[in-house]
């Protein structure tokens, strides 16, 4: 998993719960990297799982909700890191529609070893989008947060519903209906 996810996650924890919680979850998680992360390197996915689990215990919030919240946070971070990517689009649906074919292609240019989820478009209209999220990580709540934040970014609103095609969340169908 790319280092930026770890750095941003810890940033969010620090902002939300303070440095003490950050230190605590790192200490408790027994990480091979010892909690040292740089955005340009790559780390074990399990470290993220450990960190989230630890945080969940620490603050008594469910892992899913934590991941969902992190999705909101991550969108802004990524936007700050690569503003030119978002500037290419003038609508949230347009951006979502292009994740697979455009944004991920650019990611691959910079980080050829990145392991990215896939978003397969099932149906698209001017105001709605249906797509399937597939990833061995099962981080669909992260995707959920990111999607919602996308609309927020463009000052739009949408109903985002999802339906687990596989119980472990490795394949999830998202249905997005924009309004307003």
């Amino acid at each position: 998993m790319k280092g930026i996810v770890f750095t941003e996650f810890l940033e969010m924890v620090e902002t939300a719960y303070g440095l003490e919680v950050v230190d605590s979850i790192i200490e408790k998680s027994n990480l091979p990297s010892e909690g040292v992360y740089t955005s340009i390197a790559t780390y074990e996915f399990n470290e993220m799982v450990s960190l989230i689990t630890a945080l969940s215990k620490e603050v008594n919030v469910s892992s899913g909700d934590l991941i969902y919240t992190f999705g909101h946070y991550l969108f802004s971070s990524l936007g700050r890191a690569h503003p030119e990517v978002i500037q290419n689009y003038n609508s949230p649906l347009g951006l979502l529609y292009s994740i697979e074919d455009h944004i991920h292609v650019h990611v691959k240019k910079l980080y050829p070893d990145a392991e990215l989820p896939s978003f397969k478009i099932l149906e698209k209209t001017d105001s709605s989008l249906t797509m399937i999220y597939t990833s061995s990580r099962g981080l669909y709540r992260l995707a959920h947060g990111l999607i919602e934040k996308t609309f927020e970014h463009f000052n739009g609103k949408a109903d985002v519903t999802y339906e687990l095609i596989k119980d472990d969340g490795t394949e999830v169908k998202f249905k997005i209906v924009q309004h307003g």
Binding site: V22, I26, I40, A41
Partner: protein, 804 residues
């Protein structure tokens, strides 16, 4: 800041430092990687550049020094560089003047050149561009160009380079070859001889003539071996020759070969095979020239046959032939010649014999020996064809002699004597003359009128009798149209008969004509077509017989018949009237006698009563007699209404009608046949005979038997009784009218005469066999098929059917 917080920050800072160091390490290693790659690229680039410049200079040298013309031009055909050969070719130097290659292109190749240029731009190379160009002094040469594009460093085409080859000579050779091939093909295809190219017995090529000879198509021939379709005329001949040729022993041979056609027949050919060898002496091809000699062969055979026929003909000729050569030696003679002059040797043995003395030797045969010898000398002197000299021999024969001199290329080679025995034909002519005279006089004097007309009915010939018949003189008839001179009552008849004559039909017919005196005559004419020698109808011959007298007799006969019919009818009516008129006073007498008896029976004594009774009986007898006469008169005259009559029914009916005494029985042993006859007449016939029989039986038990027998054309019936019998002397008499045997009250003497009449009408016979006191047998026959023969079969069939 408390110590815990400081500790946390320190830890966080420591992590951040480590992260930075980690990131810096990653970046350093990436930067090193990049440096290595760029250095490697630079080196490669340098290497390539060196290579390119080396190659370019190398190529420059090569192109400038190659023997073939080389040109470098821009895309507007302006020459940038060209080698010496190119300068020589175009006779231009680009260093001295601007040379544009487009100007050289022959007008016919402008379009092609533009297309080629486009393809060069599209593909980058151009191969085997072939065109004509015009160089100085209007000289035209063929060139072949292989070209490629040259690009600048932006990969844009900026120029084209090409190597030019002068292929004028090549093209000329090619054209020449093509021309020669064409000429050769024309020769081969139009050759009257079959031409064949074979290799290892396989046919590679054959010309049209050969294909026509055998009827195979080109493709069919390709799959056929020479040995499949040909055979040597003599089995061991050229096949072996062909094998020898294949082995390289023979170079050529000529042989008579059979070739089998596609349809299975064969032709005879004179075949010449030549082996075409390459420089190593092995055979490349065999060329066969095939001449169809079937016709020549046939002609040769026919000639031989006709020669042999001719000699047979001469030897069997009905003319004596003697062929002498220029030295008067016999070259040929035949059997007939020997026969004519009684020379008792075989004609072949006479060959070579000298004839110079023969005239002198054989003059004794002739009536006029000296004239004979003199005439021969004369003829031999003149040597001119002489035909039909007539010679009379002492033994009465007459010979005709022809002399024909024989020249070959104007040189006298001998002569031919031909003698024909014309004795018979001479006599024949005489006989013919005599016969003609004989028949002419018959024709002239015969009692039948003879007229010959042509197709236009113009009279060509008449005889004396016809003149007498018609009343015209001969000169009044000849050359005239027959129908105009002789007036015929039925105008349409003669032309229609003449028309029939044209189609070759002959027939006889009667006509009514007016002779010269205007009297009507009846003629019977037999006409037949006249033919000329070639068998076409040229007119008709009519033989005329005057039948006026017969005609008149015929008319008289018809008249008499009519009168007879009228008088017959009259008589019949008379018989009716008489019998009727006689019957009514009879009935009056009968009534009066009855009344007399009724009214006065008390007054009359026995004698009177008996006399009245007798009177009644006589009246009844008289009535019967009249009835009989009436029947008799109609038996002959009334029409026979012949139908199918069931005789069994007839007999049954008769039994019901007639009086049969109690002791008599009528017996029909076998079933009687159905016959074709008049029902009423059959009733009368059987009723009269049976009626007669039953009343003449005095025996205790009387039997009358009816028997029928089939006698092919006739039915024979027998009515047999066991009655009193008829004395012999009456056997003929009884069939005559008013004759009866004895003095029987019931017999009128008419019955059997009616029977006789009916039997006569059925062309039958009736006779009697009888013995006094034992019985009588009446036999009579009736013809089965009385009427026309036409109905014979069907009626016969029908009656048989019914009978069975």
């Amino acid at each position: 800041m408390d110590s815990k917080e400081v500790l946390l920050l320190k830890k966080a800072l420591e992590r951040q430092k480590k992260a930075r160091q980690q990131a810096e390490r990653i970046l350093e290693s990436k930067s090193k990687e990049l440096y290595d790659v760029s250095r490697h690229l630079k080196e490669t680039n340098n290497k390539l550049e060196t290579l390119l410049s080396e190659k370019t200079s190398e190529l420059d040298g090569v192109f400038m020094n190659i023997l073939d013309p080389y040109v470098l031009m821009d895309l507007q055909f302006n020459v940038i560089n060209m080698n010496t050969s190119a300068k020589d070719l175009f006779q231009k130097d680009h260093t001295k003047e601007n040379v544009n290659l487009a100007r050289f292109i022959h007008p016919h190749f402008q379009q092609y050149t533009m297309e080629s240029m486009q393809s060069l731009l599209d593909v980058g190379i151009l191969k085997n561009y072939r065109a004509k160009i015009r160089v100085a002094q209007g000289k035209e040469i063929w060139v072949q160009i292989n070209a490629s594009l040259i690009f600048n460093n932006q990969r844009k085409p900026i120029a084209a380079q090409g190597i030019i080859r002068d292929i004028t000579g090549e093209m000329e050779v090619k054209e020449l070859l093509a021309e020669q091939k064409k000429q050769l093909d024309i020769i081969v295809e139009n050759s009257p001889l079959g031409i064949l190219l074979t290799k290892d017995n396989r046919i590679i090529k054959a010309n049209e003539t050969f294909m026509q000879m055998l009827g195979y198509s080109h493709n069919e021939l390709k799959n056929i071996s020479l040995k499949d379709i040909s055979a040597p005329e003599v089995q061991t001949g050229p096949c072996r020759l062909l094998d020898q040729m294949n082995q390289g022993i023979l170079e050529e041979f000529t042989a008579i070969k059979k070739f089998y056609k596609k349809d299975g027949s064969f032709i005879l050919t004179k075949t010449r095979m030549n082996a075409v060898t390459n420089q190593h002496g092995t055979i490349n091809y065999q060329v066969g020239i095939i001449e169809d000699i079937s016709k020549e062969r046939k002609a040769e055979m026919e000639l031989k046959a006709s020669e042999s026929r001719l000699s047979t003909l001469i030897s069997n000729l009905h003319s004596g032939v003697l062929l002498e050569d220029e030295n008067r030696k016999i070259a040929l003679t035949n059997k007939m010649f020997c026969n004519l002059f009684n020379i008792p040797v075989n004609p072949d043995d006479l060959k070579g014999a000298d004839c110079s003395e023969s005239a002198e030797q054989s003059k004794v045969f002739f009536k006029n020996p000296d004239a004979f010898v003199k005439r021969i000398d004369e003829i031999l002197e003149e040597r001119v064809t002489v035909l039909s000299d007539e010679l009379e021999l002492v033994d009465g024969r007459v010979l005709e002699r022809d002399y024909i001199p024989i020249y070959n290329d104007g040189i006298y080679k001998g002569h031919l004597w031909a003698y024909h025995d014309v004795t018979i034909s001479k006599n024949y002519k005489k006989n013919l003359e005599a016969q003609r005279e004989k028949y002419s006089s018959i024709i002239a004097n015969m009692n039948l009128g003879l007229v010959e007309v042509d197709n236009n009915d113009v009279i060509q010939m008449v005889n004396q009798s016809f003149c007498q018949m018609s009343g015209f003189k001969e000169h009044e008839l000849l050359g005239k149209v027959a129908s105009k001179v002789i007036q015929v009552s039925n105008k349409e008849l003669i032309p229609s008969k003449n028309k029939r004559r044209l189609s070759g039909a002959s027939d006889s017919y009667e006509i009514e004509v007016q002779n010269k005196d205007g009297r009507n005559r009846h003629w019977l004419i037999s006409g037949a077509p006249r033919y000329n020698e070639s068998g076409t109808v040229i007119g008709s011959i009519g033989i005329h017989l005057d039948i006026t007298d017969q005609k008149n007799l015929e008319f008289q006969k018809e008249k008499l018949l009519k009168e007879l019919e009228i008088s017959n009818t009259g008589l019949q009516e008379y018989a009716h009237i008489v019998s009727h008129d006689l019957k009514s006073p009879l009935r009056s007498i009968s009534s009066l006698a009855t009344w007399l008896f009724e009214d006065y029976k008390d007054v009359l004594d026995e004698g009177g009563k008996q006399q009245l009774q007798m009177m009644q009986e006589k009246v009844a007898s008289m009535d019967k007699l009249i009835h009989g006469i009436l029947e008799y008169s109609t038996a002959n005259s009334s029409e026979l209404d012949n139908t199918c009559v069931n005789l069994n029914e007839v007999i049954t009916e008769i039994q019901e009608v007639i009086y049969i005494p109690d002791h008599v029985e009528i017996v029909v042993a076998d079933i009687l046949p159905n016959i074709i006859a008049d029902n009423t007449k059959m009733h009368q016939l059987f009723q009269n005979i049976i009626g007669n029989a039953v009343v003449h039986i005095e025996k205790e038990k009387g039997i009358v038997e009816v028997i029928a027998q089939d006698k092919n054309e006739y039915w024979q019936f027998t009515v047999k009784d066991n009655g009193v019998g008829i004395p012999k002397k009456y056997h003929e008499k009884i069939f005559k009218i008013f004759q009866s045997v004895g003095n029987n009250e019931r017999s009128t003497g008419i019955g059997l005469s009616i029977v006789k009449k009916i039997v006569d009408r059925y062309e039958g016979e009736i006779w009697v066999e009888s013995k006094i006191g034992e019985g009588t047998e009446f036999h009579f026959t009736l013809k089965k098929n009385l009427n026309s023969h036409k109905n014979e079969e069907s009626i016969d069939y029908k009656s048989k059917k019914i009978a069975s």
